[in-house]
């Protein structure tokens, strides 16, 4: 059990900076997600927390102690590797027992603990098998067992479901989350899959090119993206951006896009320049008397909803609407946007403009 605080953490490999000044805080018992595209520095961050990589600068606090330069063996953290890293020359039981052997526990006590963990993970029947022939799911469980058995302060998991096939991932994701809820141990989980992060995480850090883009709850990150990168990376289809040149005042509650005026959450800062008007597909409504007219390019039927691709003067956008609503390709429709959900972005920096909607959230990042 531990609280983990990351302060201005930085890692350089030669002249390449893999992680640039990350800061975030992981509460005790949280299921914490490190999310971002491949190569953005998630694994490097996780390895620094675990002590497998020493930071170039910055601090890592675990349970009120600064451990940035301590070796891994002294941090009392368990790590589940992307490829599980089960020792091939040992059977399942020995693999799970291995972390206990270094602690000098008695044989009887080791046996007892291993069996307890095996029961928890429902792998008692494979304890004496070699790890070579195990299925992906069982390997995953053994790797988890090896992590759990020592009751460490925190778990680090690097894309632990990445090696499993799609159908099995769902099951393991649920098992993992249920296991966490039962044990309540702080868990840091790396993934590039935004759905996985949204489903499983209590909190999410979104990274890109070694930079923390946003840090918050899944709801906040979805509804109040701090940057255009986050807005695009999270959600499928991604957030729509209508791009235009304009200016807004602090306190404004609407924005003028050429001859259209859209209501937006009350702005907290003035801005003049290239703006992106961000709206999620599910917040786009069809309305016969909407002044913003678009042509329907395509429709994609998804059961209860459909995704409609539309073409406007300010670029393409997608709408998620009920499947009941009849839409024909090439017809022209009027659109309205749910004003409470709109985020404006500075296209130059990608940063969201502060407004009533996102003010509380942005101060974190």
């Amino acid at each position: 059990m531990a609280e983990i605080i990351i302060k201005n953490l930085r890692k350089e490999f030669g002249s390449f900076t893999a992680v640039q000044s990350s800061s975030f805080r992981i509460e005790d018992g949280e299921f914490f997600m490190l999310l971002g595209p491949s190569g953005c520095g998630k694994t490097t961050t996780l390895r620094m927390i675990a002590g497998l990589e020493l930071p170039t600068s910055g601090q890592i606090w675990i349970d009120g102690e600064e451990v940035g330069q301590k070796p891994a063996s002294q941090r009392d953290i368990a790590f589940v590797f992307q490829m599980f890293a089960l020792y091939p020359h040992m059977n399942v039981r020995k693999n799970i027992a291995y972390p206990l052997v270094s602690q000098g526990l008695s044989r009887a006590r080791v046996r007892e603990k291993v069996e307890e963990v095996a029961r928890l993970l429902r792998i008692e029947h494979i304890l004496d098998r070699p790890v070579g022939g195990l299925s992906g799911g069982d390997r995953q469980r053994v790797a988890l067992g090896r992590a759990i058995v020592r009751s460490p302060k925190a778990f680090m998991m690097d894309e632990p479901l990445g090696a499993l096939d799609a159908e099995f991932r769902e099951i393991m994701a649920e098992e993992l989350r249920a296991l966490h809820d039962r044990m309540g141990a702080t868990t840091v989980y790396v993934t590039h899959d935004q759905l996985e992060a949204m489903q499983m995480g209590d909190k999410i850090v979104v990274m890109n090119h070694g930079v923390v883009e946003q840090f918050g709850t899944p709801q906040d990150i979805y509804d109040k993206p701090a940057t255009m990168f986050v807005a695009e990376f999270i959600g499928s289809p991604a957030m729509n951006f209508l791009r235009f040149r304009g200016s807004v005042e602090a306190g404004a509650t609407s924005v003028r896009m050429h001859h259209h005026v859209f209501e937006v959450p009350e702005l907290r800062e003035p801005f003049d320049g290239d703006i992106a008007f961000g709206v999620r597909p599910e917040h786009v409504r069809f309305s016969d008397n909407g002044a913003f007219r678009c042509r329907v390019d395509a429709t994609e039927y998804l059961g209860t909803t459909q995704i409609v691709t539309l073409n406007s003067d300010h670029g393409q956008l997608k709408a998620r609407i009920s499947s009941d609503q009849p839409v024909r390709v090439d017809e022209t429709v009027g659109l309205e946007f749910d004003p409470k959900t709109i985020t404006l972005f500075d296209t130059g920096t990608g940063r969201a403009l502060r407004s009533d909607l996102n003010e509380g959230v942005l101060s974190h990042g």
Binding site: F81, Y87, S102
Partner: protein, 313 residues
């Protein structure tokens, strides 16, 4: 269940391959079998023309290789008590008696000490060096590796004269230590390169898992890396042993007495009293045995080692 499948070769292809392999085996085995057979012939059978394929086997060659003998006058012979054992009996047929043991046992023991000693040292140093090259950030790593390899870019004998002079100065000539160091120096580049390849193949995550589980770097190396590198270590050890065991040129040059190995000794067997080919063949046959036993003991590893990473996982 395997992730890939290979189509079964046709039975004709299998037959052809089988015949070719057998043919090759026979061709390479003939000289070997010839040596083994000659060891059990009498000297006259050994040089008879046409060569004898069927003959009455005798252990005369083996007796001769382990003993020195003296010829006695018929009177002296007649005065002797009857032969005490089979060796004595064989020798008496030639009007001789056994004067004492030959040097073969000593030389053979030298070969064992120097061959296995240098193999052990090469593997010990090679494994540590290969692990360091594989895992740690080392300045000028590539240059160092190239330098290590470059020691094998000329035949070792090319540096015979400097080594000869150096060894004389250092008092290493004709010593076990000198020969062990020399063969280790020659083998170490092979060992480092081969073992580095094997260790590179072992995912770092295994050691990292051990580090996180509270083990030290050395424990992780010892308990996790070594067992998985066993295949590579075994095959590298065989290559090292074969070189050290068979090395002839340096052995001739640097050893003559205390540290002489079997290869320079075996040809000298022939010199005493005519051409004793069976004794030479017997010595050569015995000389083959340790490498053969070592290879057979490690053959499971060797097979997997030679195919390198190709079929693992």
């Amino acid at each position: 269940m395997s992730a890939y499948s290979i189509t079964e070769p046709s039975s004709r292809a299998k037959w052809t391959a089988g015949i070719l392999v057998t043919l090759y085996a026979v061709i390479t085995m003939v000289p070997l079998l010839w040596i083994v057979a000659t060891g059990f012939k009498t000297p006259s059978d050994a040089i008879s023309y046409p060569p004898k394929v069927f003959f009455e086997p005798t252990v005369e060659g083996y007796v001769n290789v382990f003993t020195t003998r003296t010829r006695l006058s018929p009177e002296a012979l007649a005065a002797l008590p009857p032969p005490a054992n089979f060796a004595e009996e064989i020798v008496r047929q030639y009007d001789m008696v056994i004067a004492g043991p030959s040097r073969f046992g000593e030389r053979f023991l030298n070969s064992v000490i120097i061959g296995f000693g240098s193999t052990f040292l090469s593997i010990f140093l090679g494994t540590l060096a290969a692990y360091a090259f594989s895992r740690f950030k080392i300045p000028l790593k590539d240059d160092l590796l190239f330098f290590i390899l470059s020691t094998r870019m000329m035949p070792p004998i090319a540096v015979a004269i400097p080594i000869f002079l150096m060894y004389r100065q250092l008092g290493l000539s004709d010593t076990h230590l000198g020969m062990i160091l020399l063969y280790t120096a020659v083998n170490i580049s092979l060992a480092v390169w081969l073992l580095k390849g094997f260790i590179d193949e072992i995912p770092r995550e295994y050691e990292e898992a051990a580090l996180i589980d509270g083990y030290t770097r050395f424990q992780a190396f010892y308990k996790v890396v070594l067992p998985q590198a066993a295949t590579g270590i075994a095959s590298t050890a065989i290559f090292c042993l074969i070189f050290a065991w068979n090395e002839y040129a340096f052995a001739v040059l640097l050893t003559s007495g205390t540290a002489q190995t079997a290869p320079p000794f075996i040809p000298t067997i022939i010199g005493v009293g005519g051409q004793d080919w069976p004794a030479v063949a017997a010595g050569a046959t015995l000389f083959l045995v340790p490498v053969m036993v070592f290879t057979i003991l490690l053959r499971k590893h060797l097979l997997r080692g030679i195919t390198f990473g190709a079929v693992r996982k």
